[in-house]
Symmetry: C2
């Protein structure tokens, strides 16, 4: 019985799904982190671990992996030849490396045209028309990822220091932030010295808590985030009939704040990124099988 | 003959001036970097090296240092007890550690009331009224230093990526930036991964080159910088008769862009930060001598 593997690799862990050629998942498994850009061998090990667990979950012998085709979605898969180097190291019959955004898009939209906006700790936008996909944004925390939780958190800390110095008017939100640092701006600076995007992102929920009660700082920061997200969405060139799915940790909180022209495109995602990887594998290797 | 030392310590080097109690400088010397926050012993060595060279420059025996009082201006001198710990390690009769901003302010304003804005790679603002000084901003690149060269440079790279993705309209300025990176956004991201504030600051001059010819990106970034600087100036509470000195590498380019109410306060600095340290030493230890 021919099977395919879909694999969704992320910075904290890696998930695999073993499925029939009809796309029915018969086993699932998880593995360690998959950071293709910083650790190629570690990524290979995590992918194999997740796949092995999926075979085991399905009650199948992992020896069958050599007869199984796989589609992997990994951040950084489109950088230089990293994707090719990884697939050459894998024990599957054929493997294809795609970007994490593409499997998320295919999971969310299936065969529909349209776009996704992943708004989590980072942000990235991808559109697909007539089978051609194009990603924008998502260049990372330092210079991009506008509208993301990490950027929102950093801007909140910045506003809180401005409020501490009397440069901007303090609000309940900036006071709540400063209290977390014992009202000592040097502690804020010390936090920032070692902060990674996810550390900044932990402050984003505070903005969403204070916005509904009309906190001016929360409103300003959130308006700016939504404006930046809409600028990116506008650049995607959505067409009549397209679907737009918001994904990521902030999706549910951003969606209701989009303006009407974008809201009109909103649709619930059909499946998650792992489902997208499975569907892409069925599509790719099912067609290959026919072609043979 | 009683003498005083003024010392201006910075991240790249340390300067000392040996002066009479009338404030006449009779010898100057330089030493290595003075990063009190990261290297206390190294800072002590650099300060002593600069002082020794100043004594030598004046044709005086460094043994006289034990009878000489000193005022030091150092970034971070106001953090915890770092200033006290440093002065306890110095061979001078008495030493006082002040912030780098305070000696810059005293150099620029002398005995006048007023304020300084240091706009260089970073930014910081300080006001003095009736002998009481207060600094705002200057909490560093990650969360503060608004209007600084490093922030301006980072925002320019951000705009260039947005232009590359078609999210914002590209202009001559963003095209000039992207060309420096062979029009490859991944090279921009790679640059950012290792960039320190001064690396970002190297892009600030491009903004000032393109603004006079009406480049919309340059105009927008520069307007934002000036607005942020003016917000900080407004929070200083300048009074009639105050002087305002703009200092730092971008001072000459920012000053003409300030709005009229702030321009009215502008004055040329009387002396540099080292001159301020000397003047503070004369003031402090001259008075002490009288009190004895």
């Amino acid at each position: 019985m021919r099977l395919v593997l879909g694999i969704d690799g992320g910075g904290t862990n890696c998930r695999a799904a073993l499925a029939t050629m009809a796309g029915v998942v018969i086993g699932r498994g998880a593995g360690g982190p998959a950071n293709i850009m910083t650790d190629l061998e570690g990524t290979r090990d995590s992918v194999i671990e997740a796949a092995r667990n999926a075979f085991s979950d399905a009650g199948a012998d992992f020896a069958g992996a050599a007869e199984t085709d796989a589609v992997l979605g990994l951040a950084g898969a489109n950088v230089a030849d990293l994707g090719d180097r990884l697939t050459a190291m894998l024990p599957f019959r054929e493997s294809a490396c795609e970007s994490d955004a593409l499997i998320a898009l295919h999971g969310a939209l299936g065969e529909h045209d349209g776009a996704i906006a992943i708004i989590g700790t980072g942000s990235v936008f991808m559109v697909r028309h007539d089978g051609q996909s194009r990603a924008i944004g998502g260049w990372g925390f330092a210079l991009s990822d506008l509208g993301s939780g990490a950027r929102l958190g950093r801007e909140l800390l910045e506003e809180s220091l401005l409020a501490h110095d009397g440069i901007r008017t303090g609000t309940g939100l900036t006071r709540a932030v400063l209290e977390r640092f014992d009202n000592d701006p040097r502690k804020v600076v010390r936090f920032a010295a070692g902060a990674r995007p996810r550390d900044y992102g932990q402050f984003a929920p505070l903005v969403f808590e204070h916005a509904p009660v009309g906190d001016p700082t929360a409103e300003r920061l959130l308006s700016r985030s939504v404006r930046q997200i809409e600028e990116a969405l506008a650049a995607l060139g959505l067409r009549d009939g397209d679907r737009l799915c918001l994904l990521g940790g902030l999706a549910k909180q951003i969606a209701p704040r989009l303006s009407a022209p974008f809201k009109a495109f909103l649709a619930e995602p059909l499946a998650d990124a792992l489902g997208g990887a499975v569907a892409l594998a069925v599509k790719r290797y099912g067609e290959t099988a026919v072609a043979r």
